[in-house]
């Protein structure tokens, strides 16, 4: 073996090196976490307690048929902080995500001891052609028992979405699910006097919604007690 031709040494060394590298890479591949971790929610943006100005140019009263029976007007909810969102029940991804966030915000407020009887979450469908009040009732209850669904006529829906500047463009993508919408997905945080004070986007942290509600409830209390 002492006079093993150098070429065999080289071959053996190469084979060893290759096998070693392969072993290392297999081990690494099997033990390494995915290289791109799922994005962590971004750090909560501090909601400045002095910076919830009335949002100009949108909002205002409305009255629509509700899942609680009869009609519901925003004016009848004076004294409550309202979380208002628009969507459609055929929506598989964004709408359930936003409603889940609204439900989570309410549960968080409850955990923190806020008076949630003074917070009213609302979901308005902008797809009255396919959404029924009965279907909507079952749909909203799934996300939070306090959620009320609203469904107007096509004309009422058009007027209200214009009033709140909700974008909802019907699109046919060739999907078997029928038409979908290109749409905005803000949660409108409305104070106890019916004014829009904050628009929470689906990228904003949930805690922004919680903080705004707490702040508006506190403001209302202060006003009441002088």
């Amino acid at each position: 073996m002492a006079d093993t031709p150098p070429v065999r040494h080289t071959l053996r060394n190469a084979a060893l090196a290759l096998a070693g590298a392969l072993l290392v890479s297999i081990t690494l591949w099997m033990t390494l976490p995915p290289e791109a971790p799922i994005a962590e929610p971004s750090a909560p943006a501090a909601v400045d307690p002095d910076s919830l100005p009335v949002v100009a140019g949108l909002g205002g009263d409305f009255t629509l048929p509700a899942t609680t029976g009869g009609e519901l007007s925003l004016a009848s909810l004076r004294g409550k902080v309202v979380l208002l969102n628009f969507g459609f029940t055929h929506c598989p991804d964004v709408c359930p995500m936003v409603l889940t966030r609204m439900g989570n915000a309410l549960r968080e407020l409850e955990r923190e001891g806020a008076d949630v009887s003074r917070v009213q979450p609302l979901f308005v469908t902008f797809d009255p052609e396919r959404d029924t009040l009965a279907g909507l009732k079952e749909y909203v209850a799934f996300f939070h028992p306090a959620l009320i669904g609203l469904r107007g006529s096509v004309e009422q829906t058009a007027a209200l979405t214009k009033q709140y500047k909700v974008i909802h463009l019907k699109q046919d993508t060739g999907s078997a699910s029928g038409y979908v919408f290109r749409h905005s997905d803000f949660v409108y945080v409305i104070d106890t006097e019916g004014r829009v004070r904050l628009l929470v986007g689906s990228e904003d942290p949930e805690v922004a919604m919680v903080a705004a509600v707490k702040r508006l409830l506190r403001d209302a209390d202060r006003k009441r007690h002088g």
Partner: protein, 138 residues
């Protein structure tokens, strides 16, 4: 020589290790009356060749399509119906809320959180890959 043989055996089994794997499959639990839901999962492709997801079938769902939620950057989002989803070589693709997802159309029965749905993903090169999707409250 024995080492060389071992190496050859290792090389022979490597293609099996390089197969596409699908993990963390889940389906969004939806209200009883909901017609549609969305499915999410992660596809890993350790192999040296790119592949493409062409379609999927999920038990209890009439049609499953490949969709992407796109943020238009103007405050709106929209859904893009896609024919394929590229799976890069030595890479992975994440189907997650707010982005790529399986669009589950016409749920044939209500989905109970905790139940598991079987299914098959169809890739251009890897062919059919079985998946198991857990119904979850997000």
């Amino acid at each position: 020589m024995r080492i060389l043989a071992a190496l050859l055996i290792m090389l022979a089994v490597t293609p099996a290790l390089a197969a596409i794997t699908v993990t963390d499959g889940w389906v969004r639990a939806m209200p009883p009356g909901a017609k549609n839901s969305a499915g999410y999962l992660e596809i890993r492709n350790p192999g040296g060749a790119a592949d493409e997801l062409l379609g999927a079938r999920i038990d209890g769902v009439r049609v499953t399509e490949l969709h992407e939620m796109v943020d238009a950057g103007d405050g709106t989002k929209y859904m893009q119906h896609r024919n394929t989803i590229a799976v890069p070589a030595s890479g992975h693709v994440l189907l997650a809320p707010g982005g790529l997802h399986l669009m589950l159309i016409d749920l044939q029965r209500p989905l109970q959180a905790g139940e598991k749905l079987g299914g098959t993903l169809h890739f251009r090169k890897a062919g059919e890959v079985k998946v198991e999707m857990e119904v979850r409250m997000p």
